[in-house]
């Protein structure tokens, strides 16, 4: 009997104007947004590969260890087309050097800061706004509407169980909204892989499958909400009103209001407070450096040719002085980086507190867990950002170990292209070399070609590691459970209400 109800409902849904209009609107918007975002993604890919090439180029030209600065990048994520997350706001480029512990990433495409005027758009937004409305529209009059038209009592007079009626209507509604969902996703995929010229890996395909499942569970909540409200009221007009007000709250008011309330409960200090504390730390170390330079003045006599933070030619006494200076400065700078990181870490912990509160409040609406899941699948949530920074800090540790292994801090190589063996042994030798360079018409900046850079093959490389799918599911189990349990509760409530429903 369920089958017959299902077929009847399905036929009624699919031939209805609301389905056709909703389906066409959803499809058209998804295609439009996919075209635009795929174009944006391709340009991001290009920027990313250019940035990596430029970084590799820079690494092959490092003449002194202290100038080693590695730029690491989080690659653009294809699933970002579906869910933008927070990624675009916070950026994906980190500069790793010995002087600072990475605490934030820059947007390597450095977008127009005034574009913050407009909200972000992604494909999930279309599902959140259009398909949720469509899901509500499929069921808001499924009980009360049938009662009004008198068909409900006729149907139940035929000995059909109420559970079957409810299940039949639910399944028909679910199939009806799944069609535009699948069609939209397929249209997006077809465009991305054909016209867009992008390829989708197996892993991304599986993530997309999960995204579809979560979208189904999310939309099903709205379908069941419509069923529940329809089982609670006796006039479809009232059901529609209640459903629309619920939709307004769930989709617009709560997701936009909860961060405001969270910010009130967990008050984040202004960023300038942390910046001031960092400034105090920097001032402290600056004073120490200044005092050291006062106590250890620049040696009298000798010649020093320095350019672009590299000592290209220097008398032995100045080389020794510079080495001594760095032997004092480097440990201080490492300590300074550590002290600043502690302040940043404290701030990040406070940010984490706010995020926790936002997450808690966002669960007032199913949009909260749904966004959490889609952002995580797209690798665009705040967790992915923090993990990226964590990996940047680990990479810095690798670079510091590399320095230790090479004895870089106590070597001329730290600040010059010379070793103790190759450095000029006397002031006269320095002058001689200088004359030779001048004789061949070389400026000090042209002498780079005479020296070998640090072997780029020895410099530790960074590889971005995406969070695995199983780990995401484990981490976001709360969100998955929320969607499943909300479906079960709403269906049970709808069943209870419909069981007690006066069909006359």
């Amino acid at each position: 009997m369920i089958r017959q109800i299902l077929i009847k409902e399905l036929r009624s849904n699919l031939t209805n104007l609301r389905f056709i209009v909703g389906c066409i609107t959803c499809l058209a918007l998804v295609l439009l947004i996919t075209i635009v975002l795929a174009h944006d993604f391709k340009s991001a890919l290009k920027t990313h590969s250019d940035a990596i090439a430029s970084n590799e180029n820079a690494l092959s030209e490092v003449m002194a260890y202290q100038n080693l600065e590695v730029k690491i990048y989080k690659p653009p994520q294809l699933l970002g087309l579906f869910s933008q997350g927070v990624d675009k706001e916070v950026g994906g480029e980190v500069v790793v050097n010995y002087k600072s512990s990475p605490a934030e990433a820059k947007a390597y495409r450095s977008p127009n800061p005034l574009l913050a005027y407009f909200p972000h758009i992604d494909l999930i937004l279309i599902f959140k706004v259009i398909l949720t409305l469509l899901a509500l529209m499929f069921t808001y009059n499924s009980i009360s509407g049938e009662k009004e038209s008198g068909t409900l009592s006729l149907m139940l007079a035929n000995g059909i169980s109420r559970a079957h009626v409810l299940l039949g209507k639910y399944l028909a509604g679910a199939i009806s909204f799944t069609l535009p969902l699948i069609l939209s996703l397929l249209a997006a995929l077809v465009y991305i892989t054909t016209v867009g010229g992008l390829s989708i890996s197996m892993e991304e395909g599986i993530r997309l499958l999960f995204l579809t499942i979560f979208s189904f569970l999310f939309l099903s909540i709205f379908l069941l909400l419509g069923l529940l409200l329809s089982s609670l009221t006796h006039r479809s007009f009232i059901t529609l009103l209640l459903a629309l007000f619920c939709w307004l709250f769930i989709v617009i008011i709560i997701p936009n209001g909860s961060p405001i309330v969270a910010a009130k409960i967990k008050n984040l200090p202004p960023r300038s407070t942390v910046d001031r504390q960092i400034q105090l730390v920097q001032d402290k170390y600056y004073r120490q450096f200044r005092d050291w330079y006062r106590k250890n003045p620049w040696p009298a006599g000798g010649t020093n040719y320095e350019w672009d933070n590299v000592v290209w030619l220097s008398s032995p006494n100045i080389m020794e002085y510079t080495l001594k200076t760095w032997e004092f400065v480097v440990p201080q700078e490492l300590q300074e980086a550590q002290d600043i990181w502690r302040l940043e870490e404290n701030y990040l912990n406070q940010v984490q507190g706010v995020i926790g509160m936002e997450r808690l409040l966002s669960y007032l609406s199913p949009v909260g867990p749904y966004e959490e899941l889609t952002d995580a699948l797209a690798n665009k949530d705040s967790h992915a950002y923090q993990e990226f920074l964590k990996s940047a800090r680990m990479h810095r540790e690798q670079i510091l170990s590399f320095y230790q292994d090479k004895g870089a801090f106590r070597s001329y190589r730290w600040f010059s292209p010379y070793t103790k063996q190759t450095a000029p042994k006397s002031h006269e030798e320095v002058l001689q070399r200088r004359r030779e360079w001048q004789g061949s018409g070389m400026e000090i900046k042209d002498v780079r070609g005479l020296f070998a850079p640090i072997n780029p093959a020895e410099i530790p490389r960074y590889f971005y590691q995406k969070e695995s799918l199983s780990h995401i599911i484990k981490r976001c189990l709360g969100g998955v459970a929320y969607l499943v349990v909300a479906n079960l509760i709403l269906f049970s409530l709808a069943f209870v209400c419909f069981s007690r429903y006066d069909v006359r």
Binding site: G22, D40, S110, P111, Y117, I121, L241, N267, P270, V351
Partner: protein, 468 residues
């Protein structure tokens, strides 16, 4: 007859559950928006005062030496405004500070308590409520205005009386407009009273004219959506179909089109990255630096610097440095214009949606959003100019100064102390409404025209409507 119809419609609406639910919803949301704004405003005001005091303290330290005042990098902030309650224009996400000395303005920055790892929610200002809630209610109140009466059979009964069709449509429009309008004005007044009780009133700043204009704009937007609801209700025969069409139109006009702004901006214009601007700075520098004739006498060569501010080449050197600085300032100014224009263009395209038109007009009226950023930047440039003039004037009175103000050398101008109280300070005056009034009036005109157009089409459609 019209009076009777209005009365009947009015009683119908206020007895309807949608009115009760709408009233409660609006009341709750207005109180929430007022409370959240006031809490946020107080914190931002407090942060702003702290930042300004800190900047003043550093400027005071610098006042012991005129050249230090010129070279002092000041942090200059956009002050929070009570008018942001009406239309914030996403001010909370737009840059609110610049660092600047008399030679150069640095890239804009946003300093706030905003969680950097958070998706940016839409602000809960009054224009948000008008755009998302009042327009939604306008559709809910009108989606079945005509077709439901037809389905229930009351339309043919009414039309069997000698009742002009225009009166029927006008009564529907007027009653719903009055209900929503009174909710809007009432809610706004309630929050103004609450603000006064909390010790902050936008009325005390002489902003009544702006608030009235804002109300007018909001009422016009509501009128557009009411007309749209009536039109669709007249064009279709079933209220359910009417609702589906209206909801889809609403999501397109209110949610989707404004969200496309960023994408459109990216597609229509390209803005250089900060790195590119810094590269242009270097190129400008090198071009001017390398332009010095190779046969110039060494004592006049501007590229030389001996440390002696009285050396004969320092005049040439100062001129060269000032040329570099001026060229770099021009590059920066062009960059800011490009940032601004990219958003302005996208805004103009997105104004195909009346909600975007309303949003932009409200921000222009209240002097917030992008208009405020533009105003902030202009005020900053004027301040830089006035500080420069002040330094030149003070420097002129020092007979021991070489009087060669430039961005590279501190000892080529006076190093005498200055009275801190005489140093010009940055102040961002409220954006004048006078200059923006024509644009606001034009937006009001467009919204009014749209209402008239939609209403006229509704009337024509209703004239041809089969009431049986």
């Amino acid at each position: 007859m019209l009076r009777l119809l209005i009365k009947k419609e009015f009683l119908n609406q206020i007895q309807s559950p949608r009115f009760t639910i709408s009233f409660l919803l609006v009341f709750l949301l207005i109180v929430f928006s007022g409370w959240s704004f006031m809490e946020d405003y107080r914190l931002r005001r407090q942060d702003f005062n702290t930042d300004v005091a800190e900047n003043d303290a550093t400027l005071m330290k610098a006042a012991k030496n005129l050249s230090q005042v010129a070279f002092q990098k000041q942090n200059l902030y956009r002050s929070p405004s009570l008018l942001e309650y009406f239309a914030a224009g996403n001010n909370q996400y737009l840059p609110n500070s610049f660092q600047s000395d008399v030679f150069r303005i640095d890239f804009p920055d946003l300093k706030s308590r905003h969680n950097p790892l958070q998706k940016k929610p839409l602000g809960f200002d009054f224009s948000f409520l008008v755009t998302y809630v009042f327009t939604f209610l306008a559709l809910i109140l009108t989606y079945d205005a005509v077709c439901r009466e037809k389905n229930e059979g009351t339309l043919s009964l009414q039309m069997s009386n000698p009742l002009p069709r225009a009166h029927f449509i006008i009564s529907k429009f007027v009653v719903n407009f009055l209900l929503l309008g009174s909710g809007l004005i009432g809610g706004l007044l309630m929050n103004l009273v609450l603000f006064s009780l909390w010790g902050e009133s936008p009325l005390s700043g002489g902003y009544i004219g702006r608030i009235i204009l804002f109300c007018l704009l909001s009422l016009l937007l509501i009128a557009v959506f009411l007309s749209l609801g009536l039109l669709v209700s007249t064009l279709v025969s079933r209220s359910e179909t009417s609702m589906v069409i209206l909801l889809l139109l609403w999501t397109l006009l209110v949610v989707v089109v404004p969200s496309l702004g960023r994408v459109v901006a990216d597609l229509t214009a390209r803005v250089p990255a900060k790195g590119e601007i810094e590269l242009r700075y270097r190129q400008a520098h090198e071009e001017i630096w390398n332009n010095v004739p190779s046969d110039i006498q060494p004592e006049l060569n501007p590229r030389r610097w001996t440390g002696d501010p009285w050396a004969p080449n320092v005049l040439n050197r100062s001129k060269m440095i000032n040329t570099i600085t001026a060229r770099q300032a021009k590059i920066f100014d062009d960059y800011i214009q490009q940032l601004r224009l990219q958003v302005r263009r996208a805004q103009s395209i997105m104004m195909i949606s009346p909600t975007m038109l309303y949003r932009v007009a409200s921000e222009e009226t209240m002097g917030t959003g992008l208009s405020q950023f533009e105003h902030f930047y202009q005020a900053l440039k004027r301040y830089e100019e006035s500080l420069r003039e002040f330094i030149l004037k003070k420097d002129a009175s020092d007979t021991r100064s070489p009087h060669l103000l430039n961005a590279w050398h501190r000892n080529t101008i006076s190093r005498l102390p200055v009275d801190f109280n005489t140093i010009p300070r940055f102040h961002l005056p409220p954006l004048s409404l006078k200059a923006r009034l024509p644009r606001t009036i034009r937006s009001c005109g467009v919204l009014l025209l749209l209402t008239i157009l939609l209403f006229s089409v509704t009337y024509v459609a209703f004239l041809r409507y089969d009431v049986r």
